[in-house]
């Protein structure tokens, strides 16, 4: 069935270190993937996306890597800052469908000063 999951529920890192948040997906038909950041009491905020015809995409301090062979997605955050503390969700959707997103359970990122 369709599912997106994350390997670790909580990740704790030191301020200034790099963070890597992982995600596994099971639907091989999914060809578009998104990372969202959700702070307490707020809605998810778009971070970065990637299509299945790409392996890597970079944004400001963030990089998303896609490994279709093992159905694995990761979000790398460089020089993690206290403001990065939040829950991070990966989500997938097949381009052919209505665009509804299938979310994973989320990883809580804690940044220690």
């Amino acid at each position: 069935g369709e599912s997106v999951g994350l390997h670790l529920p909580t990740l704790s890192v030191q301020e200034g270190d790099n963070s890597i948040i992982n995600c596994a997906y099971s639907n091989s038909a999914s060809d578009y993937f998104i990372w969202y950041k959700q702070e307490s009491g707020k809605g998810p905020q778009f971070i970065i996306d990637i299509r299945s015809n790409m392996d890597k995409r970079q944004g400001q301090r963030v990089t998303v890597l896609l490994n279709k062979t093992v159905k694995h997605l990761s979000l790398q955050i460089a020089a993690t800052q206290p403001g990065d503390s939040a829950v991070y969700f990966c989500a997938e959707t097949p381009l052919s469908n209505t665009g509804k997103l299938i979310f994973g359970q989320g990883t809580t990122l804690q940044v220690k000063p």
């Binding site: 809605g43 996306d49 209505t98 665009g99 997103l101 299938i102």
Partner: protein, 115 residues
């Protein structure tokens, strides 16, 4: 407004009562989505609108749940005869079009508590 607006931000109701949740999407966005987020969980898709039509209602958990959209803008999610398991945060998102590359922008959600 600049973003997706949802109201109320919090709603406390008694079991068996009906509730209405409202979503104002970003102006000009034709696609609108409702999701539900239970405590400590990921988001669960409920329904999708393109304009005023709902081509995908597959996520609505029961016939107590319904939604409509008027004027290609505001949407209302209605839950009839609320149950305690309906307690969750209900999130609305809009995007410029359907599918793939159209990024969904979320509102802050309505936190529903059924006593």
């Amino acid at each position: 407004g600049a973003g997706v607006s949802q109201s109320p931000s919090n709603k406390v109701t008694e079991k068996g009562k009906d509730v209405e949740l409202r979503c104002d999407p970003i102006s000009g966005h034709t696609a609108l989505y409702w999701y539900r987020q239970s405590l400590g969980q990921g988001l669960e898709f409920l329904i999708y609108f393109q304009g005023n039509s709902a081509p995908d209602k597959s996520g609505l958990p029961s016939d107590r749940f319904s939604a409509e959209r008027t004027g290609g803008s505001v949407s209302t999610l209605t839950i009839q005869r609320t149950q305690q398991e309906d307690s969750a945060v209900y999130l609305c998102a809009s995007s410029p079009g359907q599918g793939g590359k159209n990024i969904q922008y979320f509102g802050a959600g309505t936190r529903l508590s059924v006593l």
